[in-house]
Point group: C3
Chain length 249, copies 3
């Protein structure tokens, strides 16, 4: 049998030992697992950004994968911890909205509460003390029903998959490409796209369909409408930011 995979996503950065502390716990409970970092560069406590990246993790991996996601401004408080099932995969994260974009794009997801708690744990680092051992146990084949219970009304943020124009920018990536909440399925071939009031012409297929430094609208690798500048940065050159409106017809 293939070794289990556990991914990690957080706002911990990589300057401190925090990510390694979670990995140490994961390897105790699941010594054979592959540990894969999604990113630890979510801006501190930016749950929306974490939510968008977490959905990408679920979209990338195969059934059986466990995703540990920790963006957790409410650590130590009474906020709940949830365990979600999406696409045959398992997500362990705080119940603060981090699951939102996964739940939106995989609407058949099921969300439970993590009821398991260790005998002792810190009040400041639940990622290490509660979420990581739970994720490791689940990756190692621990019984889901013994760790979880029903969860009524998980916290969900006000971000949605667009059903009609306008949509909005939900993520700016490392290259300055802007991902929107507009799925490819609602765009007709040749749709005319505008962003932040600027007309970009018809939907294209890949960056090099326009000349260098020209803006372009295309379907990105997330299967969502993306605004880019060929060999440049749409964020910088078009001044795009999270929340900017995108329109099509």
């Amino acid at each position: 049998m293939a070794r289990p995979i556990v991914t990690l996503l957080s706002d911990f950065g990589t300057d401190d030992y925090y990510v390694a502390a979670m990995k140490a716990v994961l390897l105790r409970t699941c010594p054979e697992c592959h540990l894969i970092d999604i990113t630890h560069s979510i801006a501190p406590q930016d749950i929306v950004a974490g939510s968008v990246q977490l959905e990408r993790a679920v979209a990338s991996f195969l059934p059986g994968t466990v995703h540990l996601a920790v963006v957790d401004p409410g650590v130590g408080s009474e906020r709940r911890i949830l365990v979600a099932q999406a696409e045959g995969q398992t997500v362990v994260c705080p119940d603060n909205g981090l699951i939102t974009w996964t739940a939106r794009r995989f609407p058949r997801s099921e969300i439970y509460e993590l009821t398991w708690r260790p005998p002792r744990h810190s009040r400041t680092f639940h990622g290490r003390d509660i979420l990581a051992p739970a994720a490791g146990a689940l990756a190692a084949g621990g019984k889901f029903s013994e760790l979880t219970g029903l969860l009524s009304s998980p916290v969900l943020l006000d971000i949605h998959v667009a059903q009609e124009s306008p949509g909005k920018v939900i993520h700016i990536d490392h290259f300055g490409n802007a991902t929107t909440n507009v799925p490819s399925s609602i765009l007709v071939p040749g749709a005319e796209i505008s962003v932040a009031g600027r007309h970009l012409g018809a939907l294209k297929r890949t960056y090099s369909d326009v000349r260098a430094n020209e803006p372009i609208a295309l379907i990105g690798s997330s299967d969502l409408l993306e605004i880019a500048v060929n060999t440049g940065s749409a964020a910088r050159e078009l001044g795009l930011k999270i929340g900017d409106q995108v329109e099509w017809r």
Copy 2:
């Protein structure tokens, strides 16, 4: 038997191939080992910061783990290389003070000299050429006594676990939280805390025990006194920096 774990800590950054070059060597000598990065973002040649993070690595992992730590301004010179045993784990690092905080917090640590040398090695990258093969050999079960010898007076820096007030800030983390050298064991419940001349009130339990953007003193995940700002940055909002005094009564 579980696969051996080797952690890596350095000031190499992640822009260059240097960390991968050490991992290549580790996988030659210990092909089955898990490789876990602690951090490679120690400021160039900042031995104190490396020392604080290295202790956290030892505190996080189980007996049997090997830690390879390279912050090494004296590379190529006659500085010694040491191998320490702490908490059933092994640390391989230059003898330049990097072991200090581990030795302070785990006073039963034993420190030896790495006497093994490869037949040939560069003068500029001992991390790859000497420390990594030694760490890999130890992780793979190599005989400690054949690689090491007695070491008299290892280099130790002037940082200590506080015994009485005042203590000081020894680390600022990614969130702007300030870790001090004050262990929880010497603080009574409800102790009154001041930092850099500012009174913070009684010791609390977790960030959300104060309102958003308010400062707080609590015991952090290192089991040391920590100064934070709930959902904010103590470093930025209180102007804290390494060396600032913290007082309690």
Copy 3:
């Protein structure tokens, strides 16, 4: 048999899920492989910088290793993808010059075209959809001849191993050390070195052969002439940059 090793090098940064998406694919096709990051901090679309780091990856690992390198401004266009054999290792990368420095330093390298394509793939993320599954298949023992074909005239950049003075700076590392294209084999012991018009004296052996904050010329860990400042940054203190001339006699 030792587990296969696949390394990853890109300009994707570590803020997004892109690297993890490639790892997800690699683990599907090669579930037992070790995944080792070289760097993902190549400046966006900086093929020269990627080329220099890629050669270092090949120089660091053992025969059998597969290197997946993606700096790919032409993604989605008709640019070819190549598979190179160098030092018993395999490189999979776009045919845009990224292989140049590997081909220069290992002139017995053989370069083929990746002819395999998956049934479907995106137009914007060939790293995930074409290069990663090919790299994983090769690491898992897939037949080279079934995936590749002959390639005439791969794209090669205008960077060369220096044969005579002057050479030039080809890389600035995290410490501010400047690597040149001058191999140790053409420098006589005691050679007198100048960079950017400044005389540095005779070639030394290691950083501490000069006093702190003094400039030094030495053979670095790449076996190339390197310009450094002991415990300082040559880039900052000597104002060095990529392309600066270095002379010796």
